[in-house]
Subunit: 436 residues, 2 copies
Amino acid sequence: MNIILLSGGSGKRLWPLSNDIRSKQFIKIFRTEDGGYESMLQRMYRMLREVDPSAEITVATSKAQISTIHSQIGDSVGISMEPARRDTFPAIALAALYLRDIRKVPEDEPVVVCPVDPYVDLTYFRAFPELVRIIEDGGANLALMGMEPTYPSSKYGYILPETRDRVSRVLSFREKPDEETAAGYIARGALWNGGVFGFRISYVAGIAGELLGTPDYDTLFARYSDVRRISFDYAVAEQEKSIKVLRFSGTWKDLGTWNTLTEAMTENIGEAVMNEHCENVHVINELNVPVLCMGLKDVVVAASPEGILVSDKGESSYIKPFVDAMDTRVMFAEKSWGSFRIIDIQEDSLTILVTLNPGHGMNYHSHVYRDEVWTVVSGTGRVILDGEESGVAAGDVVRMPAGVKHTVIADTALRIVEVQIGREINVTDKVKYPMP
Amino acid sequence: MNIILLSGGSGKRLWPLSNDIRSKQFIKIFRTEDGGYESMLQRMYRMLREVDPSAEITVATSKAQISTIHSQIGDSVGISMEPARRDTFPAIALAALYLRDIRKVPEDEPVVVCPVDPYVDLTYFRAFPELVRIIEDGGANLALMGMEPTYPSSKYGYILPETRDRVSRVLSFREKPDEETAAGYIARGALWNGGVFGFRISYVAGIAGELLGTPDYDTLFARYSDVRRISFDYAVAEQEKSIKVLRFSGTWKDLGTWNTLTEAMTENIGEAVMNEHCENVHVINELNVPVLCMGLKDVVVAASPEGILVSDKGESSYIKPFVDAMDTRVMFAEKSWGSFRIIDIQEDSLTILVTLNPGHGMNYHSHVYRDEVWTVVSGTGRVILDGEESGVAAGDVVRMPAGVKHTVIADTALRIVEVQIGREINVTDKVKYPMP
């Protein structure tokens, strides 16, 4: 099976655990059988592999996420990198052309597209081969999954099927309605549009040629920033006549807000203490100090190096404008090469804990306005300063005055406290060089 | 006027802002006219000086607090250091003998003792000279302040006066009663015991001689750890026949819990954002990241490097057992020489931000089990390593492998990131030496 996973969004609605480079799908929030935690992405990937170990999986995403994706699910997935944010049709078209032109998948093969962030179980992925079969049988150009609604939600688009059969032709689509209208749709047998689509690569490639004027991957990639912003629903689903919907009644939850996310949590995460008068309280604590809750009801507490949210669960859906208004310096990140965390900010200095995975290193670079000092606290590696290489281990100190080209490569897992000193400390003060 | 300020308590009930070395009286929580914040101690000291600029003020306290006291109110107060915790009578006796034997205050002079932590205004301090006058007039051996009760509280001891006059003889004392009993006391004109006492130094010195067998300061100081634990109320007030109470009806609040403390706060402290559905919510945020509150009612949020409290205000009074059960590593402290804050903890390392005030320095010391690295991020000073002195400034790095004797003295305000590296990092690994 060919799968395109759509991994987008900056996920401000799950602040402070999501930030500009860590979207909600990367937060490790679900308990695994071995006692650890996995993210939405990891959970989805694990289940996809369980249903089809040999699936050709491509993640459609932005440059900022690539490193985190590899870090979380490894290198056995293809990545279709979107050079800009351009809504779902260009993203899906680019990924389809990537499959055809880069991964050399025959263009008459079906592909299933699904978003990375719903909370689902194996039954969801077991429905994918059915979508593939609908396409292969020639019964439709486009096959969708329609989720059985559980209440008249105004958050979803609706699909009106011709019949109440498990697979039915689609009569029409309806944009997000108000609750009353939604109730009317549901009475007529309407389904939620879950954003899961099956089609042949050639089908979407053809539409991309028509709508965007881009015959192949390289052309679309090169022109990506200039193509129309247009959703897949609008560009494809709502125009197509030969279209079928597969009715799905298994677990499917949108975990886009703290309210819905905590419903899927079985226990608190991180150090949390509650007194006996707490009721329906969830704590997600990524700091290394305790959170103590007393006498709270229907509250979520989320603490990370970026900030602390304390919210009534119902109100947590309205977080976005408040987060937009905040100064959102990225305080931590998990990357394929390791991770960093800002541990102290002063007027003239910034202190960062940098962790490098074995075999990984930084870019070779220098700074114009700041000095840097590394203190190695654990592990071993090699430092290159203005072309001179030397080994480092715990206790070693490396000074890099402004202008000195530098990098470090980890031999074993390497942990470094980096102190940046200067009046002008910002991420743009970085000159990169090829490795010497 | 001679004043003894009792500054005790570990203040766990205001966790996470109070800890083993920062008691509640040191938390800077009250807005000052110049836009800054002051602590209970600073607020009380400022008002005392306003009422009597030449007062002889002695703070009775433990060793752990001395440095913070000097840092907050300077060096123009005497300090009576209690070598151990031994309840209020030994503490007051030691301070009285300190006034007589060390500060050479004539022993027939009156002294007023008051706790450092009630929330009061100038009228409170203006009542002190009245207590002094009662003693000087020879009308009583002991004069107390009796607070007009505002409700039948079970938290306070009660004083039953003979009359309802402003100054009255005392009939008897009552231990903390239940609310019903308290209501009965109040009907009979009883007052709360506010722990404010006036007496001649010779009076308490005499009782100390009788009860503790200690004729002077040096003897009591030397034997302090072995003397009886006994409260001033029990040892003195409840035994004394010649005793008067001064009725006080001005502002007097016990700020011992988050619930009562937030009543005295006019605004949030630190970075805090609230949506329009928050009601009676207070945030005290000592972290440098924002706290966002949504849809909360009657809640206090307190965040510090030691942890995060989110509590219904009423329930916040019951915090102590939960804090007792926590691992309470001191994560930050303010000292007379400056301050420190632990900014990162790893298995093999500890990173600390150290700030030294101009003219101050560390002890000259070495470590057996850990290496240390200093990176100076701002200011200037002098480092001594194994007897060798050299100047340091922002950007300089100093390495101290285990065994190397070291200290640093600040010339201007000096800020240093200290990285400690080793398997055995703890405060006991410190060998002190005389300054070279």
